[in-house]
Amino acid sequence: MEKEWFTISVYSENNVGLLNRISGIFLKRHINIESLNVSKSEIEGVSKFTIVVHTTEKWTRNIVGQIEKQIEVIKAFYHTDEETIYQESVLFKIASNLLFDERQIQNIIKDNNSQIVTVARDFFVIAKSGRRNEINEMYDQLKPFGIMQFVRTGRISVSKEEMQITALLNEFYQDK
């Protein structure tokens, strides 16, 4: 089975230690987490993990099963890139003089639909959101000029299909 990119979405209770428990599932199988984002979800009191892995579908299914088995996990899904809308954000910190000395930089900012978020005497900061390859392209374009600092967030994504967490929780309260 071939390796692919998968986005794992986990809806869970917001509890201390759950991140450790979930990351341990990857550790046990020697699978690297390519990116991880944890945030509030659309449901009050429910957290959402977005985890990107590059592995086979069989392993992904296995991992999702193990994640969902954890007591404080409400539901876990996995999706291919085609099944989700996803983005990452990055910040580039670049020396201010380059903005004036290298006209090309302004074009790069414009062509990549990115914004300058701050300009200081010594440096300025560019923000960009987009898909991984778009960000990689922009990185490659800026690199020759010198990047002082670069940081990128984990992937965030929403699935095209409905996730029905609220329905699941309602079912719980109706049953009890």
Binding site: N14, G17, N20, R21, K69, I71, E72, V73, F172, K176
Partner: protein, 577 residues
Amino acid sequence: METVKIKTEVNPKKTKMKISGAEAIIHCLLAEGVDLLYGYPGGAIMPVYDELYKFQDKLTHILTRHEQGATHAAQGYARVSGRVGVAMATSGPGATNLVTGLADAQIDSTPMVCITGQVTRHLLGSDAFQETDIIGISTPVTKWNYQITEASEIPEIMAKAFYIAKSGRPGPVLVDITKNAQIDEFDFSYEKCTAVRSYNPVPKPNVEAIEAAAKLINNAKKPLIVWGQGVILGKAEEELKALVEKSGVPAAWTIMGASALDNEHPLNVGMVGMHGNYGPNVLTNECDVLIAIGMRFDDRVTGSLDTYAKQAKVIHFEIDKAEINKNVHADVAVLGNSKETLGLLLPMLKENKHTAWHNEFKEKYKVEFEQVIKNDIHPTKEGLTMGEVIEQINIESEQKAVIVTDVGQHQMIGCRYAKFKQSKSNITSGGLGTMGFALPAAIGAKMGAMEREVVAIIGDGGYQMTIQELGVIFQHNVPVKIVVLNNEHLGMVRQWQELFFDRRYASTVMTNPDFVKIAEGYSIEARRVSTREDMKAAIKEMIASKNPYFLEVKVEQEDNVFPMIPSGASVSEVRLK
């Protein structure tokens, strides 16, 4: 925790009073029906021990000689009784010593609650004396764990701990309680936990899946059942028996499933796996429908997955959704509690007999008997075999004993040849393979079923890993029977060295102490035998004894366990010699 909504039932004896966290822990244990726990005191858990002292008329605490012993005793108790085993330890080394037992209980689905003391809240993260991150350490080997840092959390968390440990696929839960939470007072009231919103312990059976399973079974020409511990944990022994008898399907078991169906039931065709019986292993690759019930296709059961039952349609009855398609693809997956799902399946099955197919198992058994079993249990050579000792225990105990085994050759021989008439009678460390398990587990098993005979069968290697628990047997006069099958080697490793490492016996030869003297040091009646006649007499005497009894049997030093599926080979490649 505030985000976790727990629906509770009201305890009729619900009381409200201001008490310390430590006293609250005792009330929680009592409310959960606990009357016995195993543990070892120390600084960070002392407030709880102080309360145990006050409540000793209601709650018996057994001081094991090592915290690992406490976990295995709790496991033995849980496995034989079906109740939750409880173990307690202090912070730091006390807590880390629980890890092996937690891992064992996790992989063998044993309900256990472990309570650890922790340094006081304001010292957390300061590398205080006996501080260790037991939550971090125990996370991969627990079903759930939680650190309590405020007394008021105790009732809700303890209720949740017991509920999670015993519901669905059972497992170990660890609750770590900081010292301040044990000392502080709060208004105590207790409500049992009956549900957690993010946790679905028993999936609802899908009737369509059961119908599909019934259709496959009814049309099968060569069906085979392989059941595991899920039958025992689900209390589905009667349903299994009814299923086997109505469908006429030959049924084999994993070692964790042993004793769920009488060994002498005509359709019980024996054990599968690395040292299982010849017939069910080989015929796994000839059956047309494989009906797996409450088992998880462990590698010791399947051998190479690439060549495992590829010809068969697989039906998997399982409570844990994550086990479906984990190792073996299921053509039909039936989720749910085995008692419920088998109960629904039964009326859909046609009465049937598979005489010709069943005869294939009998033929294979004859081959195995001639080449292996005969020599194991009726040897003609002078030296004693492990198999004949087990056979003698079967005879003297009338197959009614709980057999607790450790890990290694004696374990495989024990599981192969011990005969059971009653469920929950085979207590062994199946998944983790924990040497040192048997002696403390036997103590727990005896305390969980005082009316039953409990015989621990242990190798000379594993025995010395937890030998200090003889102190518990001595102090509390626990009438367990201990049989050490002494071959002066780490036998199973030696066997692998002989077969796969050109007889390079690296660190497997043991120079052992005088085990009889050691037992006698604990005032345990002890005997050593090395002849057939003495062995038979000693086992008779041991079973007749009402007291703890230690028996060392000197067995052949270089016997091997067969049949054997070499690691990574196919079940069809099972070797008889």
